[in-house]
């Protein structure tokens, strides 16, 4: 291994650090640009390093202290490289985007601290992926969590602070669970690395393994936004500036996935059928719950956040099926489902980052996150709307984009394992298939709503009528690259899938066997394009293109205006009605007489309020209970110092008694 490529990884982390330091230089825009430039360099170096590892199997990049005690604390193996590549790519593009984007928000955000925090955030995620020991992992994890907490509050509004505090509580409960899990597994060895941990886990009793699995599942699941630990996600992701939302949704969730898989694949011994069904169940619940809320939500960025919950649910479903197959001895299904999950995670990182970056441009254009205030933007920013359209189609898992092929390989592998000998396995697979198919259908609805209501028809507000701040070159470029990647990753899906296979399934050959089915995304893409082209030619031949007239739409004899067109609420009304048992809504109709003496002529206002069943029946009562308990505990706080000393003494005795 040459010195240069070894230093590539180290240099990438170093440049991230430089970017953070440079950002603190001063208020001038020069420092902002310099800081983002350094982050760009860090992204390029990171991508180079990951490609180096991915393309040459058995390669491991490492750096660390030369002392044998701590060696190697940081190294990049092929599995980590997949995620390191994602982090580098998305942070590169978000830096490119941030250069012009943040320049128009100089009054809103404190650029110095914001840029420094972004660099810290990226550094934290990079550290997590290259860590080889629990302590280094937790260091990176906490850096990432704390930096993202401060990023959520960056606009200092009341809602952001509320969202961030909720996030802080949830993320620290999760981090606590992870730390307990690692310490339980380590059995007293504080500085054990992952390999030693795996050796310890192999001989650990079952109850410790079960408890650890539960703790890891909660820790990583709450960070990834699995229902019911997701409550922070739709609050925190939209509150952050858009390029931060892209980092959070696009890659921070993937880092949680990385951690979960690192523990399950490399540390814990194979989990049983029960634990895998547990993962599968939570995955399906998240997918269904997330997509239903994505359909009915009216806030642009919250729709994307709920769609992230849905996608994370899909990924965990794939993982659940993979581990279930492993416990049932279906090796082929285990491999393909695992590869499908990672492929879908990569695709999600790409299209969701793209959508969040796009959301920033839309929100800046209409000065609102409310879908009901948007509309007609496709006419004012046609190029941007095309790029956004591609991202929406990708997010809806339609052919020929990458997520479609991620789902394709998963569906295909399930389908071929329906006829296993065990009827229980068959039923589990069939039900998974059915729920995922339903989620897929609804995901299309959510994305069509997002695109159509924001971009098409007449503007629904004054701000959307005349957009002053159009997307700038750098911003448009980074969104377009992501849209292009969503298509390219789909067309080269077979190559990418075998690359992932080689990097994740180290123990087995990297052949993806999906039975007789063959995958040829490019054939389907060119056929579709060819058919549309033929239609275009035929239309030119058979009818005159100039024979047309611009006229107003069919108005039933009365001029139409924007107040008559469908809104996001109206558009999703059928789904809200059909799934009213899950989607709790509170509808209030207020009628106020125009003249006090005449009760018949009134002005009516209707509000449809979306409720969250987890908040209403889970977290809010739990919070009330905890505060109630705290009130009870307060009774022993008499203010008498001797009583407190007595309590401390008793605690000491109790601790010694437990410890001995």
């Amino acid at each position: 291994m040459s010195l240069f490529s070894q230093n590539l990884l180290f240099a990438s982390l170093l440049f991230t650090l430089f970017s953070g330091i440079c950002a603190l230089g001063g208020r001038s825009l020069v420092f902002h640009k310099l800081s983002q430039g350094l982050l760009l360099v860090s992204g390029v170096l990171g991508m180079l390093a990951s490609f180096k590892v991915l393309l040459a199997p058995q390669t491991v990049l490492y750096f660390g202290l030369a002392s044998s005690e701590f060696f190697p604390v940081f190294q990049l193996d092929p599995y980590g490289a997949v995620f390191f590549l994602l982090i580098s790519l998305v942070s590169f593009l978000s830096a490119l985007y941030a250069v012009p984007y943040l320049a128009s928000y100089q009054e809103t955000y404190h650029l110095q601290s914001l840029n420094a925090l972004v660099a810290t955030f990226v550094l934290g995620m990079q550290l997590v992926v290259v860590s080889q020991s629990p302590m280094a992992f937790m260091l990176g994890w906490e850096t990432m969590s704390l930096a993202s907490f401060f990023l959520v509050v960056s606009d200092r509004s009341h809602e952001s602070v509320k969202a961030a505090l909720l996030y802080l509580v949830m993320t620290h409960l999760g981090a606590g669970a992870l730390l307990i899990g690692f310490l339980l597994l380590a059995q007293g060895f504080f500085f054990a690395d992952f390999e030693q941990l795996a050796a310890l886990a192999a001989s650990a009793p079952l109850w410790i393994l079960s408890v650890c699995f539960g703790l890891f599942f909660f820790g990583f699941g709450s960070k990834a936004g699995l229902v019911p630990f997701h409550v922070w996600l739709p609050e925190a992701h939209p509150a952050a500036p858009s390029h931060i939302s892209a980092l959070m949704s696009g890659i921070m969730l993937k880092v949680a996935l990385y951690g979960f898989l690192r523990v399950l694949l490399f540390i814990l011994p194979p989990i049983g059928a029960t634990a895998s069904l547990f993962i599968l169940g939570f995955g399906l619940l998240s997918a269904l719950y997330g997509v239903l809320y994505a359909v009915v939500e009216r806030d642009f960025k919250r729709t994307l956040a709920f769609s992230s919950i849905e996608n994370i649910g899909l990924i965990f479903t794939m993982l659940g099926v993979a581990f279930f197959a492993q416990s049932q001895g279906l090796e082929g299904l285990y491999q393909t489902a695992l590869i499908a999950a990672i492929f879908f995670a990569i695709a999600h990182a790409i299209f969701k980052s793209g959508l969040f970056l796009a959301s920033g441009l839309i929100v800046r254009a209409v000065h609102s996150r409310d879908l009901e205030k948007m509309g007609g933007l496709a006419r004012q920013m046609p190029l941007f709307s095309m790029v956004f359209f591609v991202l929406c189609l990708a997010a809806a898992s339609l052919p020929p984009f990458a997520p479609f092929f991620g789902e394709w390989i998963f569906f295909q592998s399930i389908l071929q394992n329906f006829s296993s000998q065990n009827l229980f396995v068959t039923i589990v697979l069939i039900l998974t298939f059915a729920v995922i198919a339903l989620v897929g259908g609804l995901a299309i609805f959510a994305m069509v709503k997002l695109f159509a209501i924001s971009m098409l028809a007449e503007p629904r507000s004054e701000a959307a009528r005349e957009v002053h701040e159009k997307p700038r070159a750098g911003e448009l470029f980074s969104v377009a690259i992501l849209a292009f990647l969503a298509l390219g990753l789909g067309l080269y899906a077979p190559t990418v899938l075998s690359l992932i296979g080689a990097s994740v399934l180290v123990s087995s050959p990297a052949e993806i066997t999906v039975g007789s089915a063959t995958i040829q995304p490019s054939l389907i893409f060119w056929l579709l394009l060819g058919c549309v082209f033929v239609v275009w030619i035929l239309r030119r031949i058979f009818s005159r293109t100039a024979h047309e007239r611009i006229y107003h739409g069919w108005d039933c004899g009365q001029p139409i205006d924007a107040s008559m067109e469908y809104t996001a609420t109206a558009f999703s009304a059928p789904i809200r009605f059909f799934f009213r048992l899950i989607l709790k809504t509170k509808k209030t109709l207020v009628a106020q007489p125009v003249v006090a003496t005449n009760p018949w002529i009134t002005t009516r206002t209707a509000t449809v309020d979306l409720r969250s069943i987890w908040m209403d029946y889970g977290y809010v009562p739990l919070g009330r209970f905890i505060i109630g308990m705290a009130e009870q505990v307060k009774k022993i706080q008499s203010g008498n110092i001797r009583f407190y000393l007595l309590l401390m003494f008793l605690t000491l005795i109790l601790t010694i008694w437990v410890a001995l």
């Binding site: 007449e458 611009i550 739409g553 558009f571």
Partner: protein, 291 residues
Amino acid sequence: MSLTIAVFIQGIVVLALAPLVTGLVRWFKARLQGRHGAAPWLVYFTLLTTLKKENVISESRSWVFRCVPFVVLGIALFLSLTLPIVFPSGGIPQVDLFVLAGVLALSSVFLVLGGLDAATAFGGMGASREMTIAALIEPTTLITFATFASVAGSSSLQDIFGNGITVISHPALLLSFVALVLIVLAENARYPVDNPATHLELTMVHEAMVLEYSGPYLAMLEYASSIKLTVFLLILGNLVGAGLLTTVVIGSFALALFESTIAKMRFFRMQEYMSIAFFLALAGLILIFII
């Protein structure tokens, strides 16, 4: 080489037959309702006339509005070329059931966007309803075709239809076949999901979406829906082992008879229809592994 020729012949047959199928359904329906009815081949002339008419474009539209007819008709063309419906071994083997479901959804998405782009309440209403139907029928489509694929042992549509799998040879497929009929009715905007003949806002789904289209664009969209109906009828025909012409005639008659005897469902009762289709398909899939 022979595959290419088969694909082309099949495409031309489906494209040529499509307006006739729509015409036949209308003619049978008129006869069954005691009307004289227009000749079945009138649809060819209607399409040609519409093609020559002036294209009136709405003021409030974006680039999406112009893309819609091309993509929708392109996808209909794609279906007629790639599915093994006329020859059992025709079609493109790489087009499997997931691609079929995805491409159908893509076509619905474009129609919906076209409906919303014109900024009228009619278009929005049709779009919202069509999107609901398309989103909720997609799982049923996937499950039903997965059942056929499980019986055929391959997800490729060529293997499903090429191996001569019919409801007669595999009676266990009956539930899935019924589910498929429900899918065909929903996908093609027929009774009881939609009324293809009216322009009443209470009943419109498909017609409301294409309301703003005129001239060549309207002809393209109408032609696309004819092709889609023909393709689906041929798929059903393959599953009962009927030949091409039998399918076209008997299929159109059966559809007309069905539409003349049943009332349209209220849209907000659609969840019952969708649930029935979904659970029929699910039961059909589980059934073939139990027996």
